[in-house]
Amino acid sequence: MQAFTVHKGIVAPLDRSNVDTDAIIPKQYLKSVKRTGFGPNAFDDWRYLDPGEPGMDSSQRRINPDFVLNQAPFDQASMLLARKNFGCGSSREHAVWALTDFGFRAVIAPSFADIFFSNSCKNGLLPVVLAEDEVQALFEQVEANPGAQVEVSLEEMTVAAPDGTVFRFTLDEDRRHRLLNGLDDIALTLQYADDIRAYEERQRSEWPWMAEHSQG
């Protein structure tokens, strides 16, 4: 996983609440068996005027000029700003892969859906929760001054707005540590293989039906 320490870049304002993962990456692209290549189809239904199918050359498609990610300088954005409950709906990690493949490093919103939040942290895409009025302030600044740079520091857990205001956010220490260092979760967990085996031993004696009958 790509580590996240500090990132400075352009923030695209996506002024919607309840942005669902079907909108972030529509179902037809979930047929891919790969982790990469979803970027051109991030927000496909909003970004293009013609219906999209896997395998199409996105440079040949009709783009929707009204959609924020089709407008300069937001087509170069590396952070997304949205309203509450971002990433609700399906558990598809493809939504996170589409955002990172587009070039996003962070999403800033007043709240996130639980599964999206967890998926995001496992792929180096930092979900930043700010208060609604802070998000509102960022919307106003970014819309008034489109190319302005915003700096997000996971080390300091701060967001520096274009006007210099600094907002603080929190992230639980475990996730922060893994993100800062880009750690592989599985390798870390396997350090506790003995604990897992001990649990299985206990389960066999206390709840013998759990595993014995799993063969079916």
């Binding site: 037809q28 068996v33 239904d45 219906p51 709906g89 558990s91 639980d114 599985i186 396997l190 897992i196």
Partner: protein
């Protein structure tokens, strides 16, 4: 000290290790796998040279991409075919339990888990699918995970989790005739909102929930995620134990009795404290129809499409306006004047035998209305289909002009050929009415099986009791 909630008990029984900051390594008993969210996990496992920790915890099935017609011809779409074949190669090479498309036990992963006894009370159940919350109806801790977590569970049999808060939603009293589990859960989401349960595990309780069958409880727990909660659950009672008895993968004989003794403890203690409690009066719940592009946008069947001008919160009003524009609906339109083009009866929410019976009861002796271009019935599994055919339900649907298909996720998310065309309106028993969910530009109205069936025969939304005599 306060008693324990059902969630506390399920959680504590699966703790492998707890760190000082509360991060917990939680043991996973059952891992359900489908073709869409697993290929990258198996690839990751292979690239790292890892093997599944406990292969017998896995049950794999293709459901999202499978065709519901002409199965003998295989899968026409080459991209879908590759994904289904990839699942088969991945699981068979590792010797994992798998129901291929031609197996009568194939079906939607959340229908076959309980049907096979692969998901049992007291288990932790995960799947790379947000509707995994369904299995909580059995008194299990079941939640959806992303693909990185699928790989993590395959490799370690565990997940790092932090205990969430617990919410109890109590629905007390008697449901009105014609009001189903689907209406209850839609009314709950309408009340608490799609983020109302975020950060919580929800326990559904109260006399109205207890009065429901296990299948009804599954429909409710299924849509916990539409209320924002990863996990939903219902306490174990004698109905739960009778439901599990005799299922193919359930324990039997003395071991069953021993298990049942433990399962009976899987209830919240009377003095358990929840972080939030929501109370609802069952008698006040009417059959529900969604009008917008979020599952919280629901109205009673005798209600009207709301007016954004009457909404005081500007962000909310803007969302409503956008939804009505997408849905091509005018404020204040009576719900009964909305005319669908297609009807879909199926999905992990409502494709079990009781759902099909409820729909067939409405359809029996009637015909599909002329404005309904397609009325699709997609059973949740091959075994549900078989049971329905033994009861003659397929004939009822076919005689009325409906189509009777093979099991799968189908038009709930339109990854196969079953989909809405741009602008088409659908009465759907599925769980999500997001923009484009059932096909780009498609317009979804979420309803119960009985209401979907009634809409198919009347050509507009209507309470089944208001239909003319068959």
């Amino acid at each position: 000290m306060a008693g324990k909630t059902l969630y506390d008990k399920l959680w504590e029984a699966h703790v492998v290790r707890e760190e000082p900051d509360g991060s917990t390594l939680l043991y996973i008993d059952r891992h359900l796998v489908h073709e869409v969210t697993s290929p990258q996990a198996f690839e990751g496992l292979r690239l790292a040279g890892r093997k599944p920790w406990r292969g017998d915890s896995v049950l794999a099935v293709p459901d999202h991409n499978v065709p519901t017609a002409d199965r003998d011809k295989g899968i026409a779409d080459p991209v879908s075919r590759t994904q289904v074949e990839t699942l088969e190669t991945n699981v068979t090479s590792l010797g994992l339990k798998f129901f291929p498309m031609a197996d009568v036990r194939q079906g939607i992963v959340h229908v076959i888990g309980p049907e096979q006894g692969a998901t049992l009370p007291g288990m932790t159940v995960v799947c790379g699918d947000s509707h995994t919350s369904t299995h909580g109806a059995l008194g299990a801790l079941a939640f959806g995970i992303g693909t990185s977590e699928v790989e993590h569970v395959l490799a370690t049999q565990c997940l790092w989790q932090k205990k969430t808060k617990a919410m109890q939603i109590r629905v007390e009293g008697e449901l009105r005739p014609g009001v189903t589990a689907k209406d209850v859960v839609l009314a709950i989401i309408g009340r608490i909102g799609t983020a109302g349960g975020t950060g919580y595990a929800i326990e559904f309780a109260g006399s109205a929930i207890q009065s429901l069958s296990l299948e009804g409880r599954m429909s409710i727990c299924n849509m916990s995620i539409e209320a924002g909660a990863r996990a939903g659950m219902v306490a174990v009672d004698e109905k739960t134990i009778e439901y599990v008895r005799g299922k193919p993968q359930a324990p039997s004989g003395e071991l069953f009795d021993k298990a049942a003794e433990y399962w009976r403890t899987l209830v919240s203690d009377p003095d358990a404290e929840f972080d939030a409690v929501v109370e609802m009066d069952a008698a006040e719940i009417a059959p529900q129809v969604s009008w917008g592009t979020s599952p919280e946008m629901v109205a009673p069947i005798d209600g009207r499409v709301p007016d954004p001008a009457a909404e005081s919160d500007p962000v909310r009003a803007e969302g409503m306006k956008r939804a009505l524009e997408y849905m091509d609906l005018q404020p204040n339109t009576p719900m009964t004047e909305i005319r669908p083009d297609k009807v879909f009866i199926g999905s992990c929410t409502n494709s079990r035998i009781e759902d099909l019976r409820a729909a067939a009861e409405v359809v029996k002796g009637r015909k599909k209305a002329d404005n309904i271009k397609l009325a699709l019935v997609v059973p949740g599994s091959g075994l549900v289909k078989q049971q329905a055919e033994q009861e003659g339900l397929d004939r009822i649907f076919l005689d009325a002009g409906f189509e009777w298909r093979e099991p799968g996720c189908s038009m709930c998310l339109a990854m196969n050929a079953d989909r809405l065309e741009p602008g088409e309106r659908c009465a759907s028993t599925s769980n999500r009415n997001f923009e484009g969910r059932q096909g780009q530009g498609g317009r979804t109205h979420l309803v119960s099986p009985a209401l979907a069936a009634a809409a198919a025969v009347a050509g507009h939304f209507v309470e089944p009791s208001a239909l003319k005599e068959a």
